[in-house]
Symmetry: C2
Subunit: 316 residues, 2 copies
C-alpha cells in the first residue's frame, strides 16, 4: 500500500464537512482503498466477484446432512442467476464468475490422509490467480463446497490452536450431534497433520476452493487490488497465508462476521474487523458482496463531499 496516498486521503477526510471521524468505518475503508489504489481519490468502476467451488473427501465421515451433489447443483444455480450471490452482486455492482474445481474428484479425507498433493494445491492456486481480472479495482471472494465448514474448522484449529469444538459450528444444517461429529473429525485431522504450517496446511486439509482463494488473494496482492473476504470458510481459507506471513493479507478486508461461532474467533486471531454483522451464514461471497455496497458508499462520501472551505461551513 502507498502510505502517502493513504495519508492524503486521511487529510481529505478531515477536511470534509463533518466532524473528524464522524463517518467511522467509512473513513477507514476509504483510506484503505486509497492506499492500495495509490490514489487520494480511490474509485470502484470495476468490481469483480469470484466464487470457487470444490468437493471434499471429509464428507465420507458423515459431517454434513446434505449430499455432495448439492455443490454442483448450486454451481448450476449460480450460473443460472438464481442464488443469493447473483442478487447481491447485481445490487452492489460486481461482475460475478464462478469456477468449479474438479467437482467429480473430491479431495482426500483429511482424517485419513493429506487432502491434496502439492501439485493439486498449486494447480488450484493457479486457477484462482488466473481468475483475477487485472482491471478489477476491488475483488469479492466467495466459495461453495458441501463439507467445507469442517475444512474451515480444521484449518483454523491447525493454524491457531484451541479446542476443535470451539471452531465448529452449524455449517449447512448440522444439529448438535453433527457438530460433535465435526469436532471429532477436526481433532483427528489436526492430530494427524500437526507438523503442517503455512501452505502445507492447504495440502493437509484442502480443499481446491480454499487453494483457489489463496491464489486469488496472492494475485490481488501482487496487483495491489483490495480484497473483500467473505465469511468463516473464506477467512479460514487464507489462514495458511496468514500463518506464512500476515502481511500477505494486508490488502484484505473482512466483509462480515458470520453467524458461525468460529468466525469471530478467527477474525480476532487474524486482526480483521468485519464491516457487517448481520447473522448471515451462507457463504458464496454473500457477506463480502453486501459489504461492497458499504465500500462504494464510503467512496461516494470520500469523493463527493464538499470540504469546509468549499461549502463555507464554520469549524473545519
Amino acid at each position: 500500500a502507498d502510505s502517502a496516498a493513504a495519508e492524503a486521503a486521511r487529510a481529505r477526510q478531515d477536511s470534509l464537512t463533518k466532524p473528524p471521524g464522524a463517518l467511522g468505518r467509512l473513513e477507514e475503508l476509504a483510506i484503505h482503498m486509497a492506499g492500495w489504489q495509490r490514489s487520494e481519490r480511490p474509485r470502484i468502476e470495476t468490481a469483480q466477484a469470484l466464487v470457487f467451488a470444490g468437493n471434499h473427501g471429509i464428507c465420507a465421515q458423515g459431517v454434513n446432512p446434505f449430499p455432495q451433489a448439492v455443490t454442483a447443483q448450486m454451481v448450476a444455480n449460480f450460473e443460472a442467476g438464481g442464488a443469493a450471490i447473483n442478487q447481491l452482486c447485481r445490487a452492489s455492482g460486481a461482475d460475478l464468475s464462478v469456477h468449479a474445481l474438479d467437482l467429480d474428484r473430491p479431495t482426500r479425507d483429511f482424517s485419513q490422509a493429506v487432502a491434496m498433493d502439492p501439485e493439486e494445491v498449486l494447480a488450484a492456486m493457479k486457477t484462482g490467480a488466473e481468475a483475477v481480472d487485472p482491471a478489477a479495482q476491488v475483488l469479492v471472494l466467495g466459495e461453495m463446497g458441501i463439507g467445507n465448514s469442517t475444512v474451515a474448522a480444521a484449518l483454523a484449529c491447525a493454524t491457531f490452536g484451541g479446542a476443535p469444538a470451539d471452531w465448529v459450528g452449524r455449517g449447512t444444517g448440522s444439529d448438535a450431534a453433527g457438530r460433535a461429529r465435526k469436532a471429532e473429525v477436526v481433532a483427528d485431522g489436526v492430530a494427524r497433520h500437526q507438523a503442517a504450517r503455512g501452505l502445507t496446511l492447504l495440502a493437509a486439509f484442502g480443499g481446491r476452493e480454499q487453494a483457489a482463494i489463496c491464489g486469488a488473494v496472492l494475485e490481488a496482492r501482487a496487483r495491489a487490488i483490495p480484497v473483500l473476504l467473505d465469511g468463516y470458510i473464506c477467512t479460514a481459507a487464507v489462514a495458511p497465508l496468514f500463518d506464512a506471513d500476515p502481511a500477505l493479507l494486508a490488502h484484505c478486508l473482512a466483509g462480515h462476521a458470520s453467524a458461525e461461532p468460529g468466525h469471530r474467533r478467527l477474525l480476532d486471531a487474524m486482526g480483521l474487523r468485519p464491516v457487517l454483522s448481520l447473522d448471515m451464514a451462507l457463504g458464496e461471497g454473500s457477506g463480502a458482496a453486501l459489504a461492497l455496497g458499504v465500500l462504494r458508499a464510503a467512496l461516494e462520501c470520500h469523493n463527493g463531499m464538499a470540504t469546509f472551505a468549499e461549502a463555507g461551513v464554520s469549524g473545519g
Copy 2:
C-alpha cells in the same frame, strides 16, 4: 402490518436456495417489509429521505463547541449536494429533501423553561407529516441541529431514567469538560420537567426537528410506510412516541448503532436492533441511508432468488 403477508414472505424465504435462516438479518428485513407493504414480494421503487433541521435554546448553556450558524450552513450544504447524506442517498437511491424549521428562532433553553409551546410542537409535527411522500415505499429519517445531542440525551434520560452522564456523549466535538457540562444541563432539564410524559416531552425539551420526525413517523405509520431511523438524535426524537405507545414505532427499523454511547442503551430500551454498526456519529440520516442499501439487497435476494424446486437443488 399484515401478518399474512409477513408469513407468506417467511415461507418464501424458507423455500429459497439457501439453508433456512442463512441470510440472517436480510431475511428479517424482507419479512418486515412484506408485512408493512402487505405483499409477499415487497419492493422499493420509491425511497424517500427527509432531513429536518432546527436550532436549540439550550446552546445558551455552552453545550456545544460549534456556533448555531452551522445549522443553516449545513442546510445550505445539503441543498448544494455537498454533505455526506447527499452522497449516501445517491448511493442507495433515495430522494432527499431537507426541511429547515425556523432556524432563526431557536427553541427556548430547556434548563430554564419548556422548549416549545404545544402549538409549536404541533406545527413542527405537521411539517414533518406533510413532508412524507405518500408514494414512498420506505422512509429514511435524519436531522441536523447544533446542540441537539444534548436534547437527545435529555429526551432519553427523561423517558427511560438513569444517570444523565450515561446518556451524554461527544456529540459534535465535545471534550470531557463539554460532556460534563452537557450532563449537568440534562440533569437540570430532567429535574425541571419531571412530570412530562409522551408528547409533552417534546414540548419540554424540543426541538422542532424532533417534533417533525415524530410527525413524519406517525404519518408513515398511518400510511404503512416502513421507516429507517438514523442514529442517537433521531432515535431519541421518537422516544416520546415510544413513551406514549411502543406500537406507534412498529414500522420503524434502526438503521445503525451510532458511536454515541447513549445510542445502544436507547436502542436496547426501545427494543430496536440496529442493521449496521460502523462507528458513525454524524446524523443527517447518514446511517439510515446506508442501511437502505442493505434493505434493498435484502429485497433483491427475497424477490430474485430461485426456490429449491425451481433450481433443482436437493435438500429444500
